[in-house]
Symmetry: C2
């Protein structure tokens, strides 16, 4: 399946691809961080079951920032990262398998070639195999404690309030960017990921000048595009701790001043 960068997949396209390719597994990214695209997942799980296919979802850049209904949406395997919306240090990737995914794993005929990637071994290490735990590897206890704290902070706020906060901040950011005469990279409003906003690089703007300005004056890292958006877009991530009205306004200030600074440099060099 291919789509233009900045667009997501609708159920009709997904069903067409499932019917044509009959895959064992469908992999979707709920929050696509290089394009800033939000992929809706409602209805995809039942489709996958109809075509006897597992649904695997990446929520690295989305979990905590948008609604994720793993069981209700019939997602078979889902994972995230500790260092994005969950606001913990990088280094951990929480993952979850449902019984459909587990039976697929149980019925594997070829052994997994990498010991550390064998979920059967890992399930024992994670103490969910029903057997006494065997030694496997030494996890980072500091990262586990930090992730627990990150989750506790979200639990204190309440998950729904947390996602609402991300959504409100994204709207404020989008409006502010348009107010600066900028164009959002993702055209359809409901395809925009609240946690990462992609902005079209205006014609004749030296993005590097904007990035350096924001870093030097506000310690804000404005990311360039990646893959299909390289050179075409810049990216503003507002998640977890950073998804506040103050941070939105600070980011907008940095962008506004950075663009003015870049324009001034251009005029000077033309003189």
């Amino acid at each position: 399946m291919e789509k233009n960068p900045g667009e997501n997949f609708c159920l009709r396209i997904l069903e067409g691809a499932l019917a044509r390719h009959r895959p064992a597994l469908l992999f979707l990214v709920q929050g696509e961080s290089s394009t800033g695209v939000y992929q809706p997942l409602q209805g995809v799980g039942p489709l996958c079951r109809r075509y006897d296919c597992l649904l695997v979802v990446d929520t690295v850049a989305s979990l905590g920032g948008v609604s994720v209904q793993t069981d209700q949406w019939e997602i078979d395997v889902i994972y995230s990262g500790s260092q994005k919306v969950l606001g913990s240090p990088a280094g951990l990737a929480p993952i979850s398998f449902n019984s459909r995914a587990l039976s697929k794993i149980e019925s594997r005929k070829t052994p997994v070639s990498v010991f550390y990637w064998d979920v059967k071994h890992l399930s024992n290490y994670w103490a969910c195999s029903g057997e006494p735990r065997k030694y496997h590897h030494t996890i980072s206890s500091t990262l586990v404690s930090a992730l627990r704290e990150g989750l506790a902070i979200i639990a204190e706020e309440g998950l729904e309030r947390c996602t609402a906060r991300h959504s409100a901040c994204a709207k404020r950011l989008h409006n502010g960017l348009r107010g600066l005469g900028l164009e959002l990279f993702v055209e359809k409003e409901d395809a925009r990921l609240p946690t990462i906003t992609t902005v079209r690089v205006p014609a004749n703007l030296d993005l590097k000048v904007l990035q350096d300005y924001a870093m030097k004056n506000y310690a804000i890292e404005i990311a360039g595009g990646l893959g299909p958006t390289a050179g075409q877009a810049f990216r503003i991530g507002l998640m977890g701790y950073n998804a506040t009205t103050d941070k939105v306004d600070l980011a907008l200030k940095a962008v506004r001043e950075g663009i003015q600074h870049a324009r001034k440099l251009q005029q000077t060099s033309k003189l």
Copy 2:
């Protein structure tokens, strides 16, 4: 190659095995933590080169506690763990490849099946491929900073003084254990790993009682055996921060009292 638990491999045995099996790779563990065995590495590198074989060495439980001369001993691939003698949090495994190992990697014909385990990709991520860095994954910066601090502490002490301290503490521990009438699991003195000491479980001693006593009264975890030493040995690790005279004496105190306690319980139950 097989040896009785508690013994290491001499050059004659290693050469015999290299000549017989002609392996592409010889893997040795310098500090074997389940048996407390130290594997000398001097002379193994040249042997491996004679038989066109790579030498890969695990120094997880030894680096910092014993001498490791990677280049002088002609070790091709060597790795360790952050959480043992280096005294940093668990979660990182420093690894090093020499040019012989790199040419083996470069000449691979089958692609590596796991993206994250492909050293060619990783060398770019580690900024040592000579090419501009591509995105690969997000490492834990907190763990990297902590490892740097662990290494800085060793550098301040001086590596030779650090290994000498481990050696002196191990001797003090061994003498103390013998003074308690205990028998070391590794018979040959030069096969004993300074960082982890294995002790034969005395006849009729309930090891669980000793372990519980040490944990409850001194917050010292005395490990049981693993694999071939399970039930036969208990293990005392003294490394990094814990390799001090005070800690040796505390461990000996915990063992002495724990054994007395276990004996008393046994006598009581016999009455």
